[in-house]
């Protein structure tokens, strides 16, 4: 497993629930979301910062 800091931009949806789903779907393109936050909103555009994880072969130390 590896951890990655990423950013994303998502359009605000018609409801907070749909917006949440849109954010998670966008982040899942880059990995499994671990922690994220909308950091600012410009017009209807949400700026998101996140850490996601991606699977890699597990190597024993």
């Amino acid at each position: 497993m590896t951890t990655h800091f990423i950013t994303a931009e998502i359009d605000r949806q018609e409801s907070p629930v749909k917006t949440h789903q849109a954010i998670e779907a966008e982040l899942q393109k880059q990995g499994e979301p671990l922690r994220w936050a909308v950091t600012r909103v410009e017009e209807q555009r949400l700026h998101v910062e996140a850490v996601v994880t991606t699977s890699a072969p597990v190597a024993r130390a």
Binding site: T19, L34, R35, A37, V38, T39, E49, V51, R60
Partner: protein
Amino acid sequence: MSQRPYTVVLIVPTGIGATFGGYAGDALPIARAMAQVCDRLITHPNVLNGAQLYWPLDNVFYVEGYGLDQFAAGRWGLRPVHQNRIGLVLDQEIEPELRLQQLQAADACRATLGLSLTDYIVTDAPLQVQLQTAASGATWGTIQNPDSLLRAVTQLIQYAKAEAIAVVARFPDDPESEALQAYRQGQGVDPLAGAEAVISHLVVRTFQIPCAHAPALQPLPLDPHLNPRAAAEEIGYTFLPSVLVGLSRAPQLVRGSNQQGELWSRDVDAVVVPATACGSSALFHLSQSQARIIAVSENQTQMQVSPAAIGIQAVQVLSYLEALGILVAHQAGIDPTPLSQSLQPLKPLL
């Protein structure tokens, strides 16, 4: 007396430079006050951890941020406990002297506070924490060897029957950095906070077990101008006691259960959050429940997300003192309008 216990969620996200709660457990007085005016307070380690300092509160639920997100989504419930057996994970990278200090802090919590700890484990590789500050000003972080952390936790759960996990990772020392200097003056953003959250989130997501983190760092030189808000982290060798105290009675995270005494998101009556930090997963979910959202303007942060910006209805207050008043009125079933402004006559709806 109400038939329904009044339940509040207090959120102060870590690593966003919150005026209240962005330093060394400096939101703890807010949590203490809030715990007095509600039946149950749910909040997260950033609020309750003051390194060496803590304040046990019987009606407060210590819930790690990832667990709080899942609770808010209705996927996980909170099952109260009498005591958790805590497993301690130490980063292989911690030097022998620092490691001994962590272990002695843990032993002190066993002998003097009666906490229950399992034997500890050292990760099979250095976790290698990396810190960064994002464009927003929030601090984040990653770890290079997350699998080593997860292997250690697996062993604690399997062989030591740990019911909660305390992680101590070696964090980079940078005593001259501008970020740290600002933090010690009670300004800026905690440079460690974002990475700490990632560490505990990893454990909670993987194992559905209470978890919290304390960094291992070399002591800083004395600073005669140290801000009181940052002081709690500079009065001892470790940050561990508050973490262990919090974990000792942190609720278990349950799924698909409905036992008496458990809390689910439907039980939440109010959520208190900084007015500019409304972009969290937990708040998105809770805003769709019947909970009243209270946004506090005085708790400024690096974030720029108001409730309106994401379509959330909220009561805007200036201060936490005002928020406490709203909670008291809400619990009592009193409309706060006549308490603060002149009341206008009713008008026809249409």
